[in-house]
Amino acid sequence: MNDPNLMTQLCATVRKAGRIPREVPISAETCLVEDLRIDSLDLFAVLIAVQDRFDLVIDVEDMPDLNRVGDLAAYVASRRSAAAA
């Protein structure tokens, strides 16, 4: 997953939905819970915002694998590829 636009959009979506202050850096390596301190309610809000922003469906059973922002980016990219196929 090397789409810089996707990563930029994803970071902005995570920041807004997770209410992350501007001064906190977000990158592919950033962990949603450990690094950004996103609580369990906001985690759902972030994933729903990602669904809405990228017009895709996140399966509940996939949630345990979505720990880092990079995991989310790869997930979004794979869903887009699957949809395009």
Binding site: R19, S40, L41, D42, F44, A45, L47, I48, Q51, D52, D55, V57, I58, D59, V60
Partner: protein
């Protein structure tokens, strides 16, 4: 002498302004806050006339960060008006001098977070598995307004959320009075908040024929500000509005002890039920409610200087209410100044009666009666509706009454606070 219940603070958010000062200024100037709104498009809404609060709520430049996760506009309105009333009372500067466990919160609403619910429902149809925001349920609950106000003012007494349709706010103020009278609280933050602009609710009111519709011959076609015209011969329904009104009540001894200026006395109240119809009012029960409030306040009918009417601008309400006022006040009805501020503000549903109570507190302080704007006399309604222009007046005792679908009524009696 019993310890009187007094008003020590008040606040409002309305379509005339985001605080009480702007609201009062607009009311006294005879301005309307009603307009046509692009956010109510014809492909979804049967009516686009509304009283909306500009630049307010979730996502706006004036968003309250304390409640940013909760997307229901009514919660933001409850917060803003409560913060204003709390500061108006001076209680924001008196932490440590009163017991926060003895501050009650009572905030009513007809529809609560239905705006959030319908918006989420539209999105959820596309989302499949992760379909609902985790903030939907907290934002939808009617008692979340009281909960957020308690949380952010840092008060921990009883909190309640009366859901009594268009009488909710007045019921909440009466309940605040009950908490004080029973000794369960020293202060009560109480009122109502509402924002219910969803296709289902707007269209539901429209199909009941309760709203002013899109008719080219209606006055509102040329001037939306004339859509709401209580007690007028050509009144044709109400105009939905959003907003909030709040008062802070205290026992007089507590207020005096803390040096809080007394803005008005809550001299009495009454609540009752029509037991009659799902939506049509029963004038005899309304009259009974008004008479009971008078009796409990100890005021004789002829001592009431101003009656702040429910005055929705529907053909039925204004006729029934006028008759009830005549039944209760007798000859004095023709000397009594009556006005409905819904001409300017539209109908704030569960917030309306609390906004009206807060305006009555301001009227007592300023000794001015806000007018019924857009008034054209109806030969059948022959009382003094204070048409179009604010009226300086010697106000000692005022009554504010509200009635809701389901046949639920309240009447509040307020008197001057400096006596």
């Amino acid at each position: 002498m019993t310890d009187r219940i007094v008003v020590v603070g008040h606040g409002a958010v309305t379509c005339l302004g985001r605080d009480m000062a702007a609201t009062w200024e607009g009311l006294i100037a005879g301005r309307s806050g009603i307009g046509r709104h692009a956010s109510l498009p014809a492909d979804s809404y049967l009516v686009d006339l509304a009283g909306m609060v500009k630049d307010f709520g979730p996502g706006s430049s004036t968003e309250d960060p304390a409640v940013s996760r909760l997307g229901a506009r009514s919660i933001h309105m409850a917060m803003a008006s409560s913060r204003e009333a709390w500061a108006d009372a001076g209680l924001d500067r008196l932490a440590g001098r009163f017991d926060p466990d003895r501050v009650a919160v009572a905030i009513g609403s007809a529809f609560g977070g239905m705006d959030l619910y319908e918006a989420e429902q539209i999105k959820s149809s596309k989302r499949k598995s992760l379909s609902a925001s985790p903030y939907l349920v907290p934002g939808l609950l009617i008692n979340q307004m009281a909960g957020q106000v308690a949380q952010h003012l840092g008060v921990f007494g009883p909190s309640v959320a009366p859901a009594n349709a268009c009488a909710s706010g007045g019921h909440a103020i009466a309940m605040g009075g009950m908490f004080l009278r029973s000794g369960e609280a020293d202060f009560a933050v109480c009122g109502g908040a509402e924002s219910a602009f969803t296709p289902m609710i707007v269209n539901g009111f429209a199909t009941m024929k309760a709203l002013v519709g899109r008719r080219p011959e209606d006055r509102s076609a040329a001037d939306p500000g004339q859509a709401s015209r209580p007690f007028s011969v050509d009144r044709a329904g109400f105009v939905m509005a959003e907003g909030a009104g709040m008062v802070v009540l205290a026992r007089e001894s507590t207020a005096r002890e803390l040096g809080l200026p007394v803005q008005a006395i809550l001299a009495g109240w009454a609540l009752n039920s029509d037991g009659y119809h799902m939506a049509m009012p029963d004038g005899s029960k309304i009259a009974k409610c008004l008479a009971t409030a008078l009796e409990r306040s100890g005021a004789r009918p002829e001592r009431v200087d101003y009656y702040n009417a429910h005055g929705t601008s529907t053909p039925v309400n204004d006729r029934v209410e006028t008759r009830a006022v005549k039944d209760v006040f007798g000859d004095h009805a023709h000397k009594l100044a009556i006005s409905s501020i819904k001409g300017a503000l539209g109908h704030g549903l569960g917030a309306a009666s609390a906004i009206e109570a807060a305006v009555c507190v301001r009227a007592l302080r300023e000794q001015v009666i806000p007018p019924t704007i857009n008034h054209r006399p109806d030969p059948e309604l022959d009382l003094d509706y204070v048409p179009d222009h604010a009226r300086p007046s010697d106000l000692e005792t005022v009554m504010s009454a509200s009635f809701g679908f389901g046949g639920t009524n309240n009447a509040l009696i307020l008197t001057r606070g400096d006596r």
